[in-house]
């Protein structure tokens, strides 16, 4: 229903005379190119109605997917039609209508998939298919007239470099967090005194605002690099990658440790007793019984950290660490919202992907019936 309202009344695209001033909104039915706008609006409305009245979940999923794809394709085609010929400065950006329509169809699709009860593998395949469809639309050049792709064209090399840097920021903080956090979590599980202290300290660390944390990391690292020039030569500096990694690592510890503790605590004591009764030593018990049972909860912790770090790494751009946040802050500085989107949308897609993949892993680890 929301999709229908959005199609009818919310502006689908906005035409800006240049990159920095606000644009004039156009609804789909209201597009000057009526040969495109009206059929597209009708198609989207039909998909929405089909999804609402479909009895079988598969039909609903199909309607949702069709609607989302139509919105994607339609946005690109409508942008090309809307742009005045020869206007090099004018920009077409995506309006609230587009986001509402795509969001609504996405929800319909997700809801239908849950009803279909596909396994974790199916979910991963569908996630790949969804991102693949988006990438195919972009690669085909259908979106080239939209402002966000214009920004991409102007920043192509930098985009992939910063993307790689973003992944380094996320992975480089997650790995040490897991290496330290999981053993630490097990330690806290075994010793109640440690648990109280460690979790309290980590909770305090978690509450420090991210920009402050990144800033706080700069001064001690700069002093360290000044005191030990060898470190500075090796690349440990007060700005850039090192303070960002350190800050992200600190933020990652609490979810990992807390979920590890919870995971081990959730192992039924009767099972542990049975294993001991069977003659298993403590190491075998840990590896063979406790760890597999705690694993799903720990993986949930990893998912939380991964999604959190993907988003938080955007702030790292403020201290010169790069990543997609560079586009966000540059866009804010130039009030070019589509440059902000160029940084924000990949972050959202990465986070969505990470969540789906890790949920699937956790789902598999939860165990198929024996």
């Amino acid at each position: 229903m929301a999709a229908l309202v959005a199609v009818a009344f919310a502006p689908f695209l906005a035409l800006q005379p240049n990159r920095i001033v606000s644009g004039e909104g156009f609804t789909l039915p209201g597009l000057p190119a009526a040969w495109l706008g009206l059929p597209l609006a009708t198609l989207l409305a039909a998909c929405a109605v089909a999804a609402a009245f479909a009895h079988h979940a598969a039909l609903q999923a199909l309607a949702g997917a069709a609607g989302a794809l139509a919105a994607l394709l339609g946005a690109g085609l409508a942008a090309t039609a809307l742009l005045p010929a020869g206007a090099t400065l004018a920009r077409v950006s995506l309006g609230s209508g587009f986001w509402l329509v795509t969001g609504a169809f996405g929800l319909i699709l997700a809801d239908a998939l849950v009803k279909l009860r596909g396994g974790p593998l199916v979910r991963i395949v569908l996630a790949f298919a969804a991102v693949g469809a988006v990438l195919a639309v972009l690669a085909a050049g259908l979106w080239d007239d939209l402002s966000i792709m214009r920004e991409y064209a102007a920043n192509r090399d930098s985009f992939w470099q910063q993307g790689a840097r973003h992944l380094v920021l996320v992975g480089g903080s997650l790995a040490p967090a897991l290496l330290l956090g999981i053993p630490l979590g097990y330690l806290c599980h075994r010793h109640a005194a440690a648990r109280g202290a460690v979790l309290a300290v980590l909770s305090v660390v978690q509450t420090v605002p991210s920009i402050a944390m990144f800033g706080l990391m700069m001064a001690p690292l700069a002093a360290l690099a000044a005191a030990y020039p060898a470190l500075g030569a090796a690349g440990i500096r007060g700005i850039g990658l090192t303070p960002a990694l350190l800050a992200l690592f600190l933020y990652s510890l609490l979810p990992v440790v807390a979920n590890t503790v919870a995971g081990f605590a959730a192992v039924p004591p009767a099972v542990v007793e049975a294993a001991r009764g069977m003659g298993m030593g403590s190491l075998r018990r840990l590896a063979g019984v406790e760890w597999p049972l705690a694993f799903p909860v720990i993986v949930t912790g990893v998912r939380i950290v991964l999604v959190q770090n993907i988003g938080l790494a955007a702030v790292a751009a403020l201290i010169g660490a790069g990543g997609f946040g560079t586009f966000v802050f540059r866009g804010m500085g130039q009030t070019a919202m589509d440059l902000v989107l160029l940084g924000a949308v990949p972050i959202v897609i990465l986070a969505f992907f990470a969540a789906v993949v890790l949920d699937a892993i956790a789902g598999r680890a939860q165990g198929r019936p024996a």
Binding site: N18, V21, T88, A230, G232, G235, I319, R330, G333, Q334
Partner: protein, 301 residues
Amino acid sequence: MKKTVLAAIAAIAMATGAARADVVVASKIDTEGSLLGAMIRLVLQDNGIPVVDRVSLGATPVVRAAIRAGEIDIYPEYTGNAGFFYNMADNDVWKDAAKGYAEAKKRDYDAEKIVWLTPAPANNTWAIAVRGDVATAEKLATMSDFGAYVAKGGTVKLAASAEFVNSAAALPAFQKAYGFTLKADQLLTLAGGDTAATIKAAAEETDGTNAAMVYGTDGAIAEVGLIVMTDDKGVQPVYQPAPIIREAVLKQYPQIEELLEPVFSSLDLQTLQKLNGRIAVGGENAGAVAKDYLTSKGLLK
């Protein structure tokens, strides 16, 4: 134990480190910084100097801290900013272009062994720009005209940052010199120092805004039809962009000074406005605009 830990940290950091013989070229994260940083990088690379690109690094505090710590080697800075670095912002020496440059050069060399190279003849200082239609109708061209217009009760609403409104060196100084006072309802105070936001507000007449705080070389000014009111009484400090470089690196590559001199000398106010406009309004890539300009001037081989 300590050695193992340090070795481990160094090993991890090796992957992220950079070779120190290269010149690390940085800049601030704003439009003009990206443009000037790209120009420096292109000229150095074109002349066989190995360069590490850290352009668009961060805000002034980040970049300034980085050069003082030796983490970056060269970046474009403004002469007037030296007043803030050395806690003498109120001093009148900054109002004179030549004297301000000489003062900045002397202080930074004595304190930090940072050398200021040839500046550009453009003044990127705070100014007030008025909507074209208002300026034409009321015949406003200078700050004196603007002051008189406001004083006699003309309709005005100025979009500015909180810092501009409150800093004694900014709006209060203008008001004192040109004899006008803006009341609270004649001000639209924005949180950040972003002139893109103030220019946008004046262009769209948000809340009745018809004047905006701008920087002299902002690209969007001409594009959206605003007219800068010239500071005919010289109230504001002069902010000339100049490349500043660590002396150790300059000694290693002394040719950098001669290479950058023709580049910066050619950048006057109108040129910088035009180039900034291509980046901010046209959405072009800063590096591409820099390359295009340098090639057209024959400064790149």
